[in-house]
């Protein structure tokens, strides 16, 4: 009995060691850089801007905000060496923020599957779903993007109608966000309401290896659960914070400045369709 007790105590002691969960999934050989213009607030039409990377490996690709990733990496480094918040803040002050924390991993955890991760306040969430391929209608229109001859295609996907421009010169069936399934890389994609627009501004073949990692501790959830959490935080930050166990009280002193906005998501969920 004593042996077991000592073993337990030792294991629990070891569990106190800081562990930094990071799993290397693949190595990217191509990095595509996209800019994104998107509507942040559907009522005021306030726009948001972001710069995102699509890192393509032999088996897996990862799509994420370059800016938010930079901010997180700097913070992690500063905090790891015992730096304080003001030091981290001053080092990240020049990085334009988008507050888009999501990562899309295609063909992970297995082929034809997609993993989506996102952060909502303190917690990081993760769900998996089949890698859905839109049913594209290929059109004859063509235009040049970044020196690549691109062809137009249209599809209804995840609740929105998308127009994409792809190039067969890069025969990789991938694209920004969850978009994929064309006979070439998508260099431009916009939804029919002009709420989201991704456009390629560059790409580079990677000589030094860039790992495709999944980093952090995640709470497994369903897509619907993540949507509900994001919606609640966006629509009522005070209620969301009050629901957290470590927060005993929250008072918003400027409620007029955080009016409830209609929550906008790039993917229209089934529950949101029903509400409309």
């Amino acid at each position: 009995m004593n042996k077991i007790r000592i073993l337990l105590i030792t294991v629990l002691g070891l569990c106190n060691l800081p562990l930094f969960a990071q799993v290397k999934l693949d190595t990217a050989y191509l990095q595509v850089i996209y800019l994104e213009d998107y509507v942040k607030n559907v009522d005021t039409k306030k726009m948001g801007y972001d710069e995102l990377f699509l890192n393509i490996g032999s088996h897996i690709s990862e799509f994420y905000s370059k800016r938010e990733s930079q901010v997180q990496n700097i913070r992690d480094s500063v905090f790891a060496i015992g730096g304080d918040i003001s030091q981290a803040t001053s080092l990240t002050a020049d990085i334009p923020r988008s507050y888009q924390y999501y990562h899309v991993y295609k063909n992970y955890p297995s082929k034809e599957m997609l993993t989506y991760t996102d952060k909502v306040l303190f917690d990081s969430y993760r769900y998996e779903e089949p890698l859905e391929k839109p049913v594209w209608t290929l059109l004859s229109e063509r235009k040049d993007i970044q020196g690549y001859l691109c062809q137009k295609a249209m599809a209804a996907f995840k609740g929105r109608k998308w127009t994409a421009w792809y190039t067969t010169k890069i025969p990789i069936s991938d694209g920004p966000w969850k978009l994929n399934g064309l006979p070439g890389l998508i260099l431009d994609a916009m939804d029919s309401d002009s709420l989201y627009h991704f456009y390629c501004v560059g790409m580079k073949q990677i000589k030094r290896s860039i790992p495709i990692n999944i980093k952090g501790k995640f709470i497994k959830c369903s897509k619907q659960e993540l949507y509900e959490k994001r919606k609640q935080l966006n629509e009522n930050i005070v209620a969301y914070m009050k629901s957290m166990p470590q927060i005993t009280n929250v008072i918003l002193k400027t409620p007029e400045k955080t009016k409830t906005n209609k929550y906008l998501d790039i993917e229209i969920q089934e529950s949101a369709k029903k509400q409309e």
Partner: protein, 94 residues
């Protein structure tokens, strides 16, 4: 067997003591660092911890660049990651 148990227990206790010492050091550092942040443009006042030894609650005041102001009480001191997550959430509302 008793000797082994004694050595294991001694090792464990010393490891815990070292951890506790580090935690207490980091707590002081954290408080100092937060005070520094608190007076920056992001946060208005120091966390309202009056007595470290009897600390049961911490109060934080956040002010975003567009004037959103939020006061929050927590049952423990927040980590740096949690504080920046709240700053971001409030700033994202601008």
């Amino acid at each position: 067997m008793k000797k082994i148990m004694f050595i294991c227990a001694a090792l464990f206790i010393s490891a815990q003591a070292m951890n506790a010492a580090e935690e207490s050091e980091s707590l002081n550092l954290k408080l100092e660092s937060e005070v520094a942040t608190v007076f920056s443009s992001e946060v208005m006042e120091a966390p309202g911890i009056e007595n470290l030894e009897e600390c049961e609650e911490a109060t934080y005041h956040f002010l975003s660049s567009c004037g959103n102001s939020l006061t929050m009480t927590t049952d423990r001191e927040l980590t740096k990651d949690e504080i920046v997550a709240i700053e971001d959430a409030i700033e994202a509302k601008c």
